[in-house]
């Protein structure tokens, strides 16, 4: 064999897909077969290197791939058919786009000569998914399939990660072509990574003199990888600057760390939001000034100079103007800052910092997560406190759905490491957590995987119980059941005159029987006295569990920055909500 034939081999498009996945190191694919992907499924059948996980709905496949990706730092893969298979994947793609999660979604398509004829199960997948992918490709020639697959993985994981999609017509899967190996694929897409030294110097200047600095970190730290986390921890420890994080960034700095302020934002901790409001230097590392973080923009951290490290230039100055923009990978930027600051003698404004830390301690002393305990009903906060107490230190991964339970989980569970917290931040996708927990469990078969859920969110993708049972995945579905759409109900109470329009569920299933119907275990708990035993029973069971935790139905999630208010006007509890309620036509979140 000469060199050229060694580098390329002739095979069918369907085999190329499987070969490229192997070349890319993929061990798990989440999918659902259908007419337009049958040749690929036929190839999957004839090999053992790649495990295919049969989900029960294509949305579940994409969220599972997201869970796999977020918990491993690798690219997640989903495989679905044309038409409805592709359209069902759209929510997951959008979710991954907003949270910058690297996934590759492969869709079947009708044969090339039928495209545009409104064929059976035909949809304009490329058109539909263009706004919800980082890039997408329709492959019309088998010869181009392999390089497109390699390019897709490269684009998904490079720069700001994100979802990509490849649409593969059925005739392209059947036809033969030349396979290009991963090593032979050269991509032109190489986002800038190295920080501007002048800007790093300006940031170090500011750090040396700042009296009230704060680190504001986000998902970009976790996406950057373990080195970014290590450097962040080193920098925080060396400077002593307090650190807060977005929902997406939890775990990059340990919750047990001395400088930890807790999560910031709409339901963030008082000390975190006050520090953001009162700081004189804000170091934004891999976060994006989301509207749930900033509150009212013209009152957002009015007295601070702001640095922003982001690998995506479009994140910089998008909503908040910053003084020190750095377009770079977080790890590279943190290393540059640490190196320069160290070379200049690790100077700090010691007296200013001491006063700032005193101030932070006073804010902490407000104990903003305090809630009214109950002897008779399970408070959702209590349920999470007990879950935390009984699982702390375990090899634990947490997923969530979206709503009050998600915010309480972020507030009451402690995350010590990155990639251990999977939640739908940007899109706020109810129904994310359960399939995500399946993806996480498959990537970490021996770890404890808990999905903290609300009953309404959980029901949105409950069909995945079939998947969990089929693959014996011991995912724990910890449902805080208030028989309400709790966050909607909270907004209606506080902002819409207590008119609870459509925010409760009248016909909930018996979750214990539901679990049993699927062949899983169900646990019902409604008395706080039984909670610890019930949680221990859940943890001890080797298999999927639905834990139906009946909680207080009208509990509100605090602290809360009321809409249109700055960070320093938080509501800390029920008493402080009086007067914050205003009548009039409202624009709901």
């Amino acid at each position: 064999m000469d060199g050229a034939t060694q580098m390329t081999r002739e095979m069918t498009g369907a085999r190329m897909v499987v070969q490229a996945l192997k070349d890319q190191g993929v061990d798990t694919v989440f999918g659902y077969p259908g007419g337009a992907v049958l040749p690929i499924y036929d190839e999957l059948f004839q090999q053992n290197d790649i495990r295919h996980i049969l989900v029960r709905h294509e949305q579940g496949a994409v969220h599972a791939a997201e869970g796999y990706a977020r918990s491993t730092g690798r690219v997640g893969v989903a495989l679905v058919t044309s038409g409805p298979g592709a359209t069902n994947a759209v929510t997951g793609l959008t979710d991954a786009l907003l949270d910058s999660i690297p996934i590759v979604v492969l869709t079947g398509q009708v044969p090339t000569f039928m495209i545009g004829s409104d064929a059976f199960q035909e949809a304009d997948t490329i058109g539909i998914t263009r706004p919800c992918t980082k890039a997408n490709w329709l492959v019309k020639e088998t010869d181009k399939l392999a390089q497109t697959l390699h390019e897709a993985f490269h684009v998904a994981r490079s720069g700001r990660p994100g979802p990509v999609l490849i649409d593969i017509p059925k005739d392209v899967q059947f036809a033969t072509g030349l396979y290009t190996q991963r090593a032979d694929h050269v991509s032109r897409y190489q986002p800038k990574r190295q920080p501007d030294p002048a800007m790093i110097e300006a940031i170090v200047d500011a750090m040396e003199t700042s009296a009230r600095p704060v680190f504001y970190t986000g998902g970009g730290v976790i996406n950057s990888g373990p080195e970014a986390t290590r450097l962040l921890r080193e920098l925080v420890a060396a400077t002593g600057f307090p650190i807060t994080s977005t929902l997406m960034g939890l775990g990059a700095y340990p919750a047990s760390g001395p400088q930890w302020l807790g999560m910031l934002g709409m339901h963030g901790l008082y000390e975190a939001n006050m520090a953001m409001h009162g700081c004189d230097l804000m170091l934004n590392i891999g976060a994006r000034f989301d509207d749930r973080i900033t509150g009212r923009l013209d009152a957002f951290s009015p007295g601070s100079r702001k640095a922003h490290i982001d690998i995506d230039p479009s994140s910089i100055n998008k909503v908040v103007r910053v003084d020190f923009p750095v377009v770079a990978d977080v790890a590279d930027a943190l290393r540059a800052i640490l190196d320069l600051w160290t070379a200049r003698g690790r100077r700090l404004n010691a007296s200013g910092l001491a006063a700032w830390q005193q101030q932070v301690a006073q804010w902490r002393a407000r104990k903003c997560l305090t809630y009214t305990p109950s002897q008779t009903t399970i408070k959702p906060q209590y349920a999470l406190e007990r879950l935390e107490a009984l699982t702390r230190g375990m090899d634990r991964y947490i997923c969530t759905e979206v709503g009050q339970h998600q915010m309480w989980a972020a507030q009451f569970l402690g995350f010590e490491d990155p990639n251990r917290w999977m939640t739908s931040g940007g899109l706020g996708t109810m129904g994310y957590g359960f399939p995500a927990s399946i993806g996480v469990q498959l990537a970490h078969p021996d770890s404890l995987v808990i999905n903290v859920a609300g009953e309404a969110s959980w029901l949105m993708n409950m069909q995945e119980m079939g998947t969990a049972v089929q693959y014996r995945l011991p995912v724990k579905q910890f449902i805080l059941n208030n028989e309400r759409l709790g966050m909607v109900r909270q907004w209606q109470q506080l902002l819409h005159g207590e008119r609870y329009s459509q925010s409760w569920s009248e016909a909930l299933p018996d979750f214990v029987k539901l679990a049993e119907a699927f062949g899983a275990k169900g646990i019902l708990c409604k008395d706080p006295k039984d909670l610890d035993d019930a949680i221990m029973e859940m943890l001890a069971y080797d298999g999927p569990v639905i834990f139906d935790c009946l909680v207080e139905k009208h509990e509100n999630c605090f602290p809360m920055i009321p809409s249109g208010k700055p960070h320093n006007e938080m509501l800390l509890g029920e008493a402080s909500t009086e007067g914050a309620i205003q009548a009039g036509g409202a624009v709901l979140v």
């Binding site: 329709l138 900033t294 479009s314 819409h496 205003q582």
Partner: protein, 188 residues
């Protein structure tokens, strides 16, 4: 265009309902060099529609066949912050190779071609032909009762010529949109 939002009602939404930055809107001409692949133009246009940016004019054609490159010229309008955002958002599209703000990077020449059909007889016809001469428009089609003029120039010149032709029997106008290059030896 501002929505009529009652004062106080913004406190009912977590979104910032009023724009924080109200600044002067500027007109910018962007040159975008892209891989000549299917769907790239749709992605560029989708960016503008999806994020609420403005397109005043758009031209696109392959400019380097061997290199599979196309050049998209977009005239847009927005505050300086919006213009920066547009450039950054364009820049992150995987198939976009270069984005140049010709309005910001130095002097540039902008040209647009238009075809105008003017119908009429008698004095109007004579006046149309005389004005066409003043504007250096060429007659590319003629009947006893109509002309088609071809005019090349800045959009403002095309506008001015069209305004003059309107009372003289302007029937139809077709415009190519702006093509632009920076002045001097530097490229893009």
């Amino acid at each position: 265009m501002a929505l009529n939002i009652a004062s106080g009602s913004t406190s009912h939404s977590a979104y910032n309902l009023r724009s924080t930055y109200s600044e002067v809107v500027e007109r910018h001409t962007l040159a975008i060099i892209v891989d000549n692949e299917p769907g790239v133009l749709a992605r560029v246009i989708g960016l503008f529609s999806g994020r609420g940016y403005n397109i005043e004019s758009l031209t696109v054609a392959e400019t380097d066949h061997a290199g599979h490159l196309s050049r998209i010229t977009i005239v847009t309008a927005g505050t300086p912050q919006i213009i920066d955002q547009i450039e950054a958002q364009l820049g992150r599209i995987v198939q976009v190779r270069e984005v140049h703000d010709l309005s910001a990077e130095g002097p540039a020449v902008e040209r647009e071609l238009a075809l105008l059909k003017v119908a009429g007889t008698g004095d109007h016809r004579v006046e149309a032909l005389r004005l066409a001469d003043v504007f250096r428009a060429r007659v590319v089609d003629s009947t006893l009762s109509s002309f088609v003029f071809e005019i090349t120039g800045t959009p403002e010149k095309v506008d001015a010529f069209a305004d003059l032709m309107r009372p003289l029997g302007l029937q139809e106008i077709a415009r190519t949109g702006v093509a632009a290059l920076s002045r001097g030896a530097r490229t893009a």
